[in-house]
């Protein structure tokens, strides 16, 4: 969980910074998308680094889910008889209890998001339009339900990171100074949620056209 999660967090940070290029205008954003494909060129063929990144990310997602499923199955086996009284959480932290169902919501979101922004299948502009046009078309006020889904998914990502970030340090045996560690996890999660939601909300309210 910890190692694959760390890979995915690094991706999220890069992805969020890339997204913010939308505020620098259509040319800057489209140029950035083009650069992702031509990284390392001409030394390397186009898409080399991008394909490697895609493979690493896919592997990380699959292994992350495999770890989660095996942990859940071990948990079910370790407690075959459930408690009759509703188990009331004694530890603080709402985020901790969203990890499993939140992870499923995030997975559904990622599938939709790829169909929307990468392949353009469910995007009004389709896959041939520029990335900027797809982004602007995708979050029009008339498609408010898409933006709402993104919002819910990003809040889930935030909860996931709030627990996942400090938890990764704990699992790898690196956790020290818990108060600072958990506050740091909360801050990083909040920055990522705000950063990711900035673009869809800006499009919806018409700041980015």
């Amino acid at each position: 969980m910890a190692v694959t999660g760390a890979v995915l967090v690094l991706f999220l940070v890069a992805h969020m910074l890339g997204n913010l290029k939308i505020f620098l205008g259509a040319d800057s954003f489209n140029h950035y998308a083009e650069w992702l494909r031509t990284m390392g060129s001409p030394a390397l063929p186009n898409r080399t680094l991008l394909t490697i990144t895609e493979i690493v990310l896919t592997l990380a997602v699959v292994l992350h889910m495999w770890s989660a499923v095996s942990l859940a199955r071990r948990a079910a086996k370790a407690r075959p008889v459930k408690y009759a009284a509703r188990r009331r959480s004694q530890a603080s932290g709402y985020a901790t209890h969203t990890m499993r169902y939140g992870g499923v919501i995030i997975l559904l979101f990622v599938i939709w998001h790829l169909l929307d922004m990468t392949f353009g299948v469910v995007n009004p502009e389709g896959g041939d339009a520029t990335p900027y046009a797809r982004m602007v078309a995708g979050f029009q006020p008339s498609r408010w339900w898409v933006t709402l889904f993104y919002l819910v998914a990003m809040v889930m990502v935030g909860f996931h990171l709030r627990h996942g970030l400090w938890s990764a340090f704990q699992t790898l045996g690196l956790a020290r100074r818990y108060r600072a560690l958990k506050a740091g996890a909360g801050a990083v999660a909040a920055v990522l949620v705000v950063g990711f939601l900035a673009a869809p909300v800006a499009v919806m309210i018409g700041v980015v056209k």
Partner: protein, 246 residues
């Protein structure tokens, strides 16, 4: 105080078991939870019924024998308290209280509220010791221990092995118990020679017993009657990863 108790009754390991409702009247708020159950049991015996079986020994909160899940919380909602030290004044008159045994596959129910915690013994046998020449007692100052390490080791050593951590964990993990023992011995100079092999052997035994995996929910430390901190689990993970990578 008058109370309604819903208690798990199970005749033996093979019995299916069920919740049975009892009324207990004239309970003093100054009674401990176990004394309240004693009152119920005396009445059950007089009426010719089988008394409710539960584990207990010192009734001072230091032996680790007692423990039951009270209203869904291991040892009840009072923090840092064993069931024997929990007093009835923390309950409302007329309340309904649900009482269940620790629930975990590696803790099979022996009878009613009594579970078999031999799996903990086997985790200790796997590495929860230091191999030292057991001659006469050494001088107290023969091996200097920094005060900070001694305190942290002692905090971990206060674990009484009651099993509340397992009972409270949504994953049924025994990480807090195992980590307490690994931390207690691993922080002291006498524990260094076996530090790596101990962490490895104890973690592997814990997994072999069928306990779940830790997902850092923190439920264990919240119900722990001794307040064993979560950083013991980080230390266990660090020692285990170091041992496993060798």
């Amino acid at each position: 105080m008058n109370l309604t108790l819903k208690i798990w009754r199970q005749n033996g390991p093979a019995d299916r078991g069920r919740m049975v409702t009892y009324r207990v009247e004239d309970v003093s708020p100054d009674m401990s939870f176990l004394e309240m159950l004693d009152v119920l049991n005396e009445r059950l015996i007089l009426e010719g019924d089988e008394p409710v079986a539960f584990d207990h020994d010192c009734r001072e909160g230091i032996c680790g024998m007692c423990g039951m899940v009270i209203n869904g919380v291991a040892h009840g909602e009072q923090r840092a308290t064993t069931t024997c030290q929990l007093h009835m004044r923390h309950f409302e008159d007329g309340a309904t209280i649900t009482i269940e045994p620790w629930r975990a596959a590696p803790f099979p129910v022996v009878k009613d509220l009594v579970v078999d915690r031999s799996s903990f013994d086997r985790i200790i046998q796997a590495g929860g010791f230091v191999s030292v020449p057991a001659g006469s007692a050494p001088d107290a100052h023969a091996v200097p221990v920094p005060k900070k390490d001694a305190d942290a080791a002692f905090d971990a050593a206060t674990c009484i092995g009651c099993g509340a951590c397992v009972a409270a964990c949504p994953n049924g993990s025994a990480s807090l118990f195992t980590a307490a023992k690994i931390t207690h011995l691993g922080l002291l100079p006498q524990g260094q020679p076996e530090r790596a092999s101990r962490a490895r052997a104890m973690v592997e035994q814990m997994d072999a017993e069928g306990f779940g995996g830790c997902t850092n929910t923190g439920e264990c430390t919240a119900v722990c009657p001794k307040g064993i901190p979560l950083d013991t689990i980080a230390r266990m993970n660090a020692d285990y990863l170091k041992a496993a990578s060798k």
